[in-house]
């Protein structure tokens, strides 16, 4: 069972296998499927992410009208070279927003771990592949890393905003992307789990306060912070920086913070940004 990042990393070391390999083997025994069947399914996930990114339509707007067109704005700004964070981080931001917008506009996406956070993992993965030209095989291995991290978080804590706030959704997605990114950069199991831990730490306490209860504001833009945070914490791990708090304990802290959150800050659309005068006005106009 995948319920401890620390134990998984230790077992990888003991058995001399990669983190992704352990997650894959776990899936094979858990669902009684062949290696090929599992890999094929993961390939379908990655290709669907790619297609969703490539088929972004800047003209689409969500039913409420709040979401649409921002991904195209970032693309143009990137083209003009006006972004302080530079072209590649700009690319990560662009992809994160595009996927979040596509989701809000009822396009096909891959929930990872949820639909609201679906932009984080693909933004990091697709941008990494564009930059370093990894093979698809390598990308799938990294997706197993992400899936393993997400599975541990789901086991020890939660991955739904209604259960633990946005930290459970964007926070988990960011931890998943960070671990995958650290693997792509050559990190071992220890680097992977510390990248994930640092990513999650940075987003602890993030509340789920969607305006009018919709997966739009602030969800789409939070995909950006989840994705960029994943890149920076993967970089920290590659540089040798480690989380002082052990990764499993960080996840447990996320759980206890989530349990302390009042229900008004857990997807009900009753607190935070949803409860601002403007948030209330938007919500009223939609009824």
């Amino acid at each position: 069972m995948m319920n401890s990042l620390q134990q998984m990393a230790e077992q990888c070391e003991k058995e001399g296998i990669a983190f992704w390999e352990m997650v894959l083997q776990n899936d094979m025994s858990d669902r009684l499927v062949s290696r090929e069947a599992s890999m094929q399914q993961m390939q379908q996930m990655y290709r669907t992410m790619w297609e969703a990114d490539a088929s972004y339509d800047p003209k689409l707007h969500s039913a409420s009208g709040m979401v649409g067109g921002d991904g195209e704005k970032i693309r143009r700004a990137r083209e003009q070279g006006v972004l302080a964070s530079g072209d590649w981080i700009g690319l990560v931001m662009e992809k994160a927003v595009k996927m979040g917008e596509s989701n809000a506009c009822m396009r096909r996406i891959v929930a990872a771990p949820t639909a609201g956070a679906c932009g984080v993992v693909p933004a990091v993965f697709l941008s990494m592949q564009e930059k370093y030209h990894y093979t698809e095989e390598k990308m799938l291995e990294a997706l197993y890393v992400s899936a393993g991290i997400g599975a541990v978080i789901a086991e020890r804590a939660f991955i739904a905003g209604a259960s633990g706030g946005c930290q459970a959704e964007i926070g988990t997605a960011s931890a998943m992307a960070a671990g995958g990114c650290a693997y792509l950069l050559g990190g071992d199991a220890e680097a992977i789990i510390h990248a994930a831990a640092m990513a999650l730490k940075n987003l602890l306490g993030l509340v789920c306060d969607p305006v009018a209860g919709l997966v739009e504001v602030p969800c789409v833009k939070r995909n950006v912070i989840g994705a960029v945070n994943a890149v920076t914490t993967a970089d920290l791990a590659i540089a040798g920086v480690r989380s002082h708090i052990p990764p499993d304990e960080v996840i447990d802290a996320m759980r206890s913070v989530g349990r302390l959150l009042p229900s008004s800050l857990r997807e009900t659309g009753e607190g935070g940004l949803a409860a601002t005068p403007e948030g209330i006005r938007i919500s009223r106009n939609l009824r």
């Binding site: 997650v23 776990n26 899936d27 858990d30 669902r31 399914q41 993961m42 379908q44 996930m45 669907t48 969500s62 039913a63 409420s64 596509s102 989701n103 809000a104 506009c105 009822m106 396009r107 096909r108 996406i109 891959v110 929930a111 990872a112 771990p113 949820t114 639909a115 609201g116 679906c118 993992v121 997706l143 197993y144 992400s146 899936a147 393993g148 997400g150 599975a151 789901a154 991955i159 739904a160 209604a162 998943m176 009018a212 209860g213 919709l214 997966v215 739009e216 659309g269 939609l286």
Partner: protein, 223 residues
Amino acid sequence: MNIFDIVGPIMVGPSSSHTAGAVRIGYITRRLLGEPVIRAEIGLCGSFLATGKGHGTDKALVAGLLGLAVDDMRIPESFEMAKKQGLSFRFTAEEIPEAHPNTAHLKVEGASGQKLDIVAASVGGGRMKVCSIDGITAEFYGECPTLVVQDRDEPGQVADMTTMLAQANINIATMQLYRDVRGGVAVTVIECDQEVPRESLHWLAERDGILKVTYLSMEEAPV
């Protein structure tokens, strides 16, 4: 939960519980009816009612009733599809005490006049749970072959069902019994490890005291 619940599912947005779960509710209802739906009255409760429109819950439920899967790109156009395929529907606001916040109450009628009344909830991550059938409690998730039998609450009915399954060499995964009142209508929900053959279902439906046999197959349904 497996790793493809973490990286996945592939779905049409924006919300796994308000959109994907709603498609599943419509889809399982359509499969339980066993024929194309021509009329549907859909009651929305709780959060489905409050935020359903913005999440496309209404379109998702209708898409499911048409037999579309959660990743079908035609979900946003389901209302137009329904019109073309002869499915008329209407939505109502409904209050069901103690119900899960994401609950729908569907009253559907099929092409041959068959009727079905389902209350189902979207329970997160795109999963759904049937809560009642034809007004009687019956809980199942629609993730394995499921046999739902309504019968007169009399001795021996369950024996008929299990005999039928044993003869078809089908293993029972879970089994639940419900009834409205003593000696009234009982509902038996049997989740199976294998598909139940059509002939066995016919045999069961003909037995004395069996009022209605509804079966959910996991095999691909024609859309």
